[in-house]
Amino acid sequence: MAGTAVRGRLSDPGGRPPQAPLAAWQTATVSSVTAETASVRTILLNVPDWPGHRAGQHLDVRLTAEDGYQAERSYSIASAPGEPLAITVERLEDGEVSPYLTEELRAGDQMEVRGPIGGYFVWEPEMGGPLLLAAGGSGVVPLRAIVRCRIMVGSSVPVRLLYSSRSWADVIYSGELSRPTPGVEVIHTLTRSHPDGWTGYTRRVDAAMLAEVAFRAAEGALAYVCGPTNFVEAVAAGLVGLGYPAGRVKTERFGASGQ
C-alpha cells in the first residue's frame, strides 16, 4: 500500500524520506494587533529569519513569564506566503494563552515562534482546483491564507468558501471577504442569529447545503475543511457522500479545548 496512490484514501506519500530538521525557536516582535471581532485578533509578527511557509500551515508560539514559566500553543498562519507573517487568535474563555494574546499583547511585545509546521493541509498554486473551502468559526484562518495565496499569485482556480459563523458579528475577515474577487465566492451561514433582511443560510452546514454550494465531484475539486470537530465531521462526511474521494478532502480539526 505504501507508495501507491489509492483513490479514496489519504494521499500518503509513504516511502519519502523524513523531512529536514525544523529550525529552532526564533524571537518574534509584534508589529501590530488588529481586532477582527470582539474576541478575535490578528497579530502581525516580525521574525527576521522566518524560513517562509505554505498556505495552510501553522506555527508554534512560546510565551515566557518573568520567572521563566513558559507556555506553548499552535496557531494557524493567517498570511499568504510572502506576506508579513500573521496569526489570527480567538480568545477562549478559560484559556491560558489566548486571553493574553487577544487582550494584553501590543506592538513591540516579544514572543518566540517555531515553524512552519504541517505539510498536508496546504495548498500550492500547482495543486490547482477548483477549491472548496469550508470553515467553522476560527477555522477560517488557514483557509484565508489559501484564498490570499490564490489571489496574490494571480491563479484563476475557482474558489468557493463556505463559512459558518454564529452571527455576523462573529465573522472574521468580514471586510476583505466582502470585497468582490473574480473567481472567489464566499457563502456565509449564520447559525445562531442573523441581521434583519439576511437572505443567506441560517443553519449548520448539512448535506443539502453542501449539495447546493460545493463543486460537483466530477469537477475534481480539492476540499479543505477546518473547524470544530462536529463541523469537520459533518462536512467531510457530506463531501464523501457527494462523491468526493476521501483523498481530496483535507481536514484540520480543533477540539473545544484548544486553549
Binding site: 491560558e96 514572543m111 463531501l239 479545548s257
Partner: protein, 200 residues
Amino acid sequence: MSPISRGFHGRRREAATAGRVPPGQYLTHDFPVLSAGPTPHTALAKWTFSIEGGREPKRWTWQEFQALPAETVTVDIHCVTRWSKLDTTWRGVSLDVLLDFVGYDHPYALAFCDGGYTTNVPVADLTGGKAWVAFGYQGGPLAAEHGGPARLLVPHLYFWKSAKWVRGLRLRDTDQPGFWETYGYNMYGDPWREQRYAGD
C-alpha cells in the same frame, strides 16, 4: 535565552499532576479529535487485523480478535498539538499477545489503517506491556472519530503514533516513515524529550 513576553503570567500547574505532564503540554479534560481526512467507517464484518512480514503472517477477523485475551488499562496520553489527558481507560489486546503468534526478528513496524494512514514505531516500543490494539474507551466501544472500531494505543509516544482505524502492522527491517513522519513530524515522538518535529 528566551525573551520575556511582557505581561504574561500564565497558569502554573497543580503540583499533583506536574510530574505527569511532559514539557510544552497542557492538561485537557476533553478528548479533542485530530485527523487529516474524513472519518472512515468500516463494517465489523469486513474488519480484519493483520500482522505481515513475520515468519507466519497472521490475520484475525473481528470475532476472532474479540476472542483474544483483552485487558483494561488506564494511561496518560499526549498529543503533539500540546494537549495531554490523564487517566484515560481503554480496553484492548496487548501487542505482546498479537506478536507472539507470528515469529519475527524485525526491529521496526509500520502500522496501516483504513483511510490510508500509516505510522512507524520500533517493535521494542510495541512490546513489554507498552502497546495495545484498543477497541474500548471509558467503558464503551471506541467511537469512530476517536479511531473505532479499533486503534493502536502506544501512550508513551505522542498520540499520532496511536494510529486510528488501525488494520494491521507490517514488520520491517528498516524504519520507514509513515504519514505525519513525511510531513515534518518526528520519526520517534517521545513526549518527555519533546520530539515533536523532524530532527528534535
